[in-house]
């Protein structure tokens, strides 16, 4: 989760998110450079006492400030397309989970082997134990094994929702009547928080997503425990 007044991204928990972080660093540096240059030019223009009233042709500078932006755009586009295609790679998932959006909770279905289905409701603020995170905790977490490609099929039972977990680099709209696929590999164990990212009614801000990545043995223990409870 984010810490208070956090400005940047959360640490990546998947390789794709790591690539997105690095691309963002690259693009943001270009943005900073251009903004600094423009700001400097503005200050220079505003504070000068000189006036040039006789500017006519300016072929050289026109060529420069057409060609240079084109080159900069190519330098941004190349890594961008690379990450985009990386996100779409066929990844032969070990596990498929269906995340269904409802008003106002998520339900997760692990139906590869057994028929494990459960709902995930936000823990109300008054029910939190001291130290828990307000508006982020849920009663059931979506547990996944680490270092395994996971496919998540996202859909909705009523209105539009969106299943998003920033540290996994995942966001996928939940559209009623449609199956959207997204995938990730959790590189490290941990608990990763996200929130519904498509307006869906009164409690849109109160249907968070919690993904818990654990080593495979612990995942198997968890599924066994969940099957007993259900």
């Amino acid at each position: 989760m984010a810490h208070p007044a956090q400005m940047g991204f959360q640490d990546a928990a998947t390789p794709v998110m790591e690539e997105l972080l690095h691309f963002h660093d690259h693009a943001l540096m270009i943005v900073y450079l251009i903004s600094t240059m423009v700001f400097y030019i503005i200050v220079a223009m505003v504070t000068t006492e000189l006036t040039n009233k006789y500017i006519l042709d300016s072929q050289e500078i026109e060529i420069m400030w057409t060609a240079l932006p084109a080159i900069i755009l190519v330098l941004i586009a190349m890594p961008s397309i690379r990450v985009l295609y990386l996100m779409d790679e066929i990844n032969d998932p070990h596990l498929t989970i269906k995340a269904m959006g409802h008003q106002w909770y998520w339900s997760y279905e692990y139906t590869d082997y057994e028929n494990l289905t459960f709902d995930s409701y936000m823990t109300p603020t008054q029910d939190l134990t001291p130290g828990q995170f307000r508006l982020l905790e849920t009663d059931h977490r979506m547990v996944v094994p680490t270092d395994a490609p996971i496919r998540v099929l996202v859909s909705a039972e009523d209105v539009l929702h969106s299943w998003a977990v920033p540290s996994l680099g995942v966001k996928m709209d939940a559209v009623p009547g449609r199956l959207n696929q997204t995938a990730f590999i959790a590189s490290r164990a941990g608990v990763f928080y996200g929130q519904c990212s498509e307006i869906c009614g009164a409690n849109h801000s109160f249907m968070p997503i919690v993904v818990e990545a654990v080593p495979l043995e612990h995942f198997e223990i968890w599924t066994a425990m969940m099957m007993e409870d259900v």
Partner: protein, 167 residues
């Protein structure tokens, strides 16, 4: 925002009667189809001299100007200058003090906004949720560290787990 009178004047009339901050005089109504007078740093020589109609004394001084200039006294030279030009370069470049009004206005409105925000906090906002109590926040920080939130470069990366203190 039309905060400056200069902006207002530009919008409200098509003539060039503009008062300027610190330059108290109002220039004449301008008819753009005949030669105009202006005081501009970047175009120092206007299309016509400032004084159109000269008194007899002025006219005789103008005649004297056609002779050698070292026959002219300092006052006569100054008078000739003022016949041709309204403001000197020094007067044109004189700072107007407009910035003080602008900065003062900015501070005033920031201050007013601050008052609105304070009033709002006291009269409008509901009480804080209990998760913003210091005790809860401390437990939350401990929980975030125990759960190793953002351990790579973020939150938990800044905690020294061996020494039990921030790095």
């Amino acid at each position: 925002m039309l905060l400056s009178r200069r902006g207002l004047a530009a919008f409200s009339s098509s003539s060039v009667k503009m008062a300027s901050h610190g330059h108290g005089d109002v220039t004449e109504q301008g008819d753009m189809s005949v030669p105009m007078y202006w005081d501009r740093l970047d175009t120092p020589l206007p299309d016509k001299p400032y004084q159109d109609t000269l008194s007899d004394a002025d006219k005789s001084l103008k005649q004297k100007e056609k002779g050698p200039w070292n026959h002219l006294s300092k006052e006569e030279k100054l008078a000739l200058y003022r016949m041709t030009f309204k403001e000197s370069f020094a007067e044109m470049k004189k700072p107007t003090g407009e910035w003080k009004t602008v900065v003062g206005g900015i501070f005033f409105f920031i201050g007013f906004t601050g008052l609105v925000v304070l009033w709002q906090r006291y009269y409008v906002y509901p009480p804080h949720p209990r998760t913003l109590d210091d005790e809860w926040k401390a437990k939350q920080v401990k929980r975030m560290l125990d759960m190793r939130m953002n351990p790579v470069e973020g939150f938990s990366a800044k905690w020294d787990y061996e020494k039990g203190q921030w790095k």
